[in-house]
C-alpha cells in the first residue's frame, strides 16, 4: 500500500475517532431483533448463553462499547484487536480468510470496501439473522452501502454525510458570500485567490474518496455492478462530467492549494486562512477541534454546494460498518454484538466518544440536533450534518475492487493536477486500469 493512502486512511480513521464534542443523545435499545421466527437471532438467549468472540477494529470508541458490553453480559468475552488501520487490516483479513485460520468473528470494514469482501463471499449475510428487519433504522446512505445484491453484509457503525465546512473569517474579509452552488463556488475561488494569492478556496492534489463522493452528489453512477458483471463509464456519465467541468477550471486556473490532506501544511492552512473551505464528511468537526485549535470560532458548516440551485443533494464520504466474516464459528453471538454496537446501547457510548451516528433515531433527535458547538461559534452544526445525512443521493455503487482502484487514482487522475493531462483523460486512464484489474480478478468489466 502506498504511503499516501495510508496517511489519508489514517486521517480518515482519526476523524471518526477524535470526534469529541459532538454531543450525544439517547438511543433506544431494542434489545436486538429477536423473534419467534426460526432464522433471526434471538440475541437475548444467545447473549445469556455466552461465549467468546474476536473483533478486529481500529475504531477507538469500540473499547468503551466492549467494556460496557462485557459488564452487561458477563458470559460473553470479547477480544478486541487492532490489527491495523483500513488497508492494513483488510490485508490481514484477506490473508486470514485465504488461510482459513485466525479469522475474526467481527471485522470493521469501510463502506467503500464492503462490496469487495461481499463479492468474494467472505462475509455472512446478516439479513436472515435479523438485519432484514432493520429497514429505516439507519440513514439511507450507509444502509445502502452495506447491501450487495440481496444481502446485508454489515451494520452501519458511523457515517460521513458531506457538508461544506468554511472559514467564515476569510469569507467576511473578502466580502464573498458562502457558495450554495458549485458555480458560485468557482466564482468564490477566483475572488479569494485574486484578493490574496496565498489563499485558496480548498486544497486538492487528487483524492479518490473525495472525487467519487463528488460524482455521487452530482447524481453520477459511473460504476454499475451486477454480481460479477461490472461497468465503468466516466466519459458517458453525466454526474462525472458535471464534476469534471467545474473541477477542471479550478485546476487550470490554479485555484486549489497543492497541499495533501492530513499533512502538516494542510492543518496550518486550515488554521491561518489560506485554505478557506473543506467539502468533507460529517466526522470532520472533531478533527478541526483537535488539529486546528487556532480556527476556533472561525469555522462554520453549510450545506454542500449544489449542482443545480434549489436542490438539496448530498453524498457520503467515509464511514465504516461492522461485518461478520463468513468463516466465523460463532456468527450468532457475533451478530448479537454487532447489533449491540451499531443499533443498541453501544451507539450511545460511541456518540459520547465523539462518533457521528448512522442511526436515524439519533440523527433526528432534538437533543443531538440542538447541540451548540463552541468551536463553530455556537452554531448548531448537527442540524446541517443530520440534514445532509437525510439528503444523500440514492443509487450509488462502489466497485467490488474499489480498494485497488483507489490506490491507483493518483497514477491516473492525479496526473491532471501536475501535468497537461485533463481530468477526462485521467478518468479514462483510471477506468482502463481499473477494468484491466477487474478482468484479471475474474470479473467481467466493460465487456
Amino acid at each position: 500500500m502506498n504511503a499516501r493512502s495510508r496517511h489519508l486512511v489514517r486521517g480518515t480513521a482519526l476523524a471518526g475517532v477524535l470526534a469529541l464534542g459532538l454531543a450525544a443523545c439517547g438511543s433506544g435499545d431494542d434489545g436486538g431483533s429477536g423473534g419467534g421466527d426460526a432464522a433471526p437471532v434471538d440475541t437475548a438467549s444467545v447473549l445469556e448463553k455466552g461465549g467468546e468472540i474476536t473483533v478486529w477494529a481500529w475504531e477507538p470508541t469500540l473499547e468503551d462499547v466492549v467494556t460496557d458490553f462485557e459488564e452487561k453480559y458477563p458470559n460473553v468475552t470479547v477480544n478486541l484487536e487492532n490489527v491495523g488501520t483500513a488497508n492494513d487490516q483488510y490485508t490481514a483479513l484477506q490473508n486470514a480468510i485465504a488461510a482459513g485460520d485466525g479469522v475474526p468473528d467481527v471485522a470493521q470494514i469501510e463502506y467503500y470496501a464492503v462490496p469487495q469482501f461481499a463479492i468474494s463471499e467472505a462475509l455472512t449475510d446478516l439479513g436472515p439473522l435479523g438485519a432484514d428487519e432493520l429497514d429505516g433504522t439507519f440513514s439511507t446512505g450507509p444502509w445502502n452501502s452495506v447491501h450487495s445484491g440481496d444481502g446485508v453484509y454489515g451494520m452501519p457503525m458511523d457515517s460521513g454525510p458531506m457538508a461544506l465546512f468554511y472559514n467564515d473569517e476569510v469569507f467576511k474579509k473578502y466580502g464573498v458570500d458562502v457558495p450554495t452552488t458549485w458555480d458560485e463556488y468557482l466564482e468564490a475561488a477566483r475572488t479569494i485567490h485574486e484578493k490574496d494569492p496565498k489563499a485558496y478556496i480548498a486544497n486538492d492534489i487528487g483524492d479518490a474518496g473525495f472525487t467519487t463522493s463528488m460524482i455521487w452528489q452530482a447524481g453520477g453512477q459511473p460504476y454499475q455492478v451486477d454480481g460479477t458483471d461490472v461497468t465503468i463509464d466516466f466519459a458517458g456519465d453525466e454526474g462525472t462530467q458535471k464534476f469534471a467541468e467545474v473541477w477542471q477550471q479550478l485546476i487550470d486556473e490554479d485555484l486549489l492549494a497543492p497541499v495533501g490532506s492530513w499533512s502538516d501544511e494542510w492543518y496550518q492552512g486550515l488554521g491561518n486562512g489560506t485554505i478557506a473551505t473543506l467539502t468533507i464528511g460529517a466526522w470532520m468537526p472533531a478533527n478541526l477541534e483537535s488539529g486546528v485549535p487556532q480556527g476556533k470560532g472561525k469555522w462554520r458548516v453549510a450545506e454542500m454546494p449544489q449542482w443545480e440551485a434549489g436542490q438539496h443533494a448530498t453524498s457520503e464520504n467515509g464511514g465504516s460498518s461492522l461485518t461478520v466474516p463468513a468463516a466465523s464459528k460463532n456468527a450468532e453471538l457475533a451478530y448479537a454484538f454487532v447489533d449491540y454496537a451499531t443499533n443498541g446501547e453501544g451507539v450511545q457510548a460511541r456518540l459520547d466518544g465523539g462518533a457521528f451516528p448512522a442511526t436515524t433515531a439519533d440523527l433526528e433527535s432534538d437533543e443531538f440536533r440542538g447541540t451548540e458547538s463552541a468551536y463553530f461559534g455556537g452554531q448548531k452544526i448537527n442540524e446541517v450534518l443530520a440534514d445532509s445525512a437525510a439528503n444523500v443521493v440514492e443509487g450509488w455503487q462502489y466497485l467490488p475492487f474499489q480498494v485497488y482502484a483507489n490506490s491507483i487514482f493518483n497514477d491516473t487522475v492525479g496526473q491532471a493536477y501536475v501535468s497537461g493531462t485533463t481530468l477526462d483523460d485521467g478518468l479514462a486512464a483510471w477506468q482502463e486500469q481499473s477494468a484491466t484489474y477487474g478482468n484479471g480478478q475474474g470479473f467481467t468489466v466493460n465487456k
Binding site: N87, A98, I205, S407, V418
Partner: protein, 279 residues
C-alpha cells in the same frame, strides 16, 4: 556430515524464500474464481507489462546518471583525503561518511521536508530571495531529487571503500614514481587507480544493485508527491503496490523474480568486464 547444519540453515534462510516465490509465481489467485495453476502466464504478462518496463527504464536512467556522479565524487574525495594534502582529513572523512549512518527512511523524510516549496527549505529560499525555484517534487524533477538524496547518503560509504583500498597501496611504489619524476596526476592514473580497480568494480556492482532496488526514497516521498511518484515508479515499488493494495501476490512475486534475474545478469556482466580488462 559436518556441512549438514550449515546446509540446513542455508536451505531455510536462503533457498526457502526463493523457492516459495517461484511457487507463488506459477499460480494466480482471483477474487472470483479462486486459485489456479497458470504455468508461465504471469511471466508472459510481466514481460508485456508497460508499467514494469517503464519502472525498469526509470531505474536504468537513474543508474546511468546517478551512479557515475556518486562514484566520481566518492573517488575524488577518497583521492583528496589520501593525498595527505588536506588539512583536517579525519574531520572530512567522518562528516562525509556521516549521512550513511542516517537511516534511509529518515534521510528521505528529511530531504522531503527540505524540498517543500511552501514551508520547506526551497520555500524559505524562495521567500527570502524573492525567487521562484522549480518544485523539486514535480514529476519532471523528482527523479533528480531522489538521485540527490541517494548520492548524499552513499558518497561516504563508497568513499570509505576507495579510501581503504588506497591505504593498502605500498608506499614504495610512490617513492619509485617520485624517483622516476612522475607528477601527482601520473601517480593517480598509473598507480592509484589500477591498484583500486577491484574496489571500483565492487562499488559499481553494489550501486547497480542499489539502483535497481530503489524503494525507500520514492516510497517515502510518495506521500508528499503522490502524483509525481506513481505506484509503479520503480520495479520494487510496483511489486510492493501489487501485493499490498492489489492482493496480487502471485504477480508481485513474478515481478520480483524477473527483477532479481535482470539485476543478477547485469551485475555479473559488469563483474566479468571489470575484472578482465588489463590496464
Amino acid at each position: 556430515m559436518f556441512v549438514g547444519p550449515f546446509m540446513l540453515v542455508f536451505a531455510l534462510v536462503f533457498l526457502a524464500p526463493i523457492v516459495y516465490s517461484l511457487y507463488l509465481s506459477v499460480f494466480r489467485t482471483q477474487m472470483v474464481g479462486g486459485t489456479t495453476f497458470v504455468g508461465l502466464e504471469n511471466y508472459a504478462q510481466a514481460l508485456a507489462d508497460p508499467q514494469f518496463w517503464e519502472g525498469l527504464g526509470r531505474v536504468s536512467l537513474f543508474l546511468l546518471v546517478q551512479v557515475p556522479i556518486m562514484l566520481g565524487i566518492a573517488l575524488l574525495v577518497a583521492l583528496a583525503i589520501d593525498s595527505g594534502r588536506l588539512y583536517g582529513k579525519s574531520f572530512f572523512r567522518i562528516s562525509i561518511f556521516m549521512p550513511y549512518a542516517v537511516p534511509a527512511v529518515v534521510a528521505a523524510l528529511m530531504w522531503g521536508f527540505m524540498y517543500g516549496t511552501r514551508f520547506g527549505l526551497v520555500g524559505n529560499i524562495n521567500e527570502a530571495l524573492g525567487v521562484s525555484l522549480p518544485n523539486p517534487l514535480s514529476p519532471d524533477l523528482v527523479l533528480a531529487s531522489i538521485g540527490n538524496i541517494v548520492t548524499w547518503e552513499f558518497v561516504g560509504y563508497n568513499m570509505l571503500i576507495f579510501y581503504s583500498a588506497l591505504r593498502v597501496v605500498p608506499h614504495s611504489l610512490y617513492e619509485a614514481a617520485e624517483i622516476d619524476g612522475a607528477g601527482q596526476w601520473r601517480v593517480i592514473s598509473a598507480i592509484k587507480l589500477p591498484a583500486i580497480r577491484g574496489a571500483l568494480v565492487i562499488a559499481t556492482i553494489f550501486s547497480i544493485i542499489g539502483s535497481f532496488q530503489l524503494f525507500n526514497e520514492p516510497s517515502i516521498l510518495q506521500s508528499l508527491a503522490p502524483n509525481a511518484i506513481t505506484t509503479s515508479y520503480t520495479p520494487n515499488l510496483y511489486a510492493y503496490s501489487l501485493s499490498f493494495s492489489g492482493q496480487q501476490y502471485n504477480y508481485s512475486a513474478t515481478v520480483a523474480i524477473i527483477m532479481g534475474l535482470i539485476t543478477m545478469v547485469i551485475a555479473y556482466v559488469v563483474q566479468l568486464r571489470g575484472m578482465r580488462k588489463e590496464p
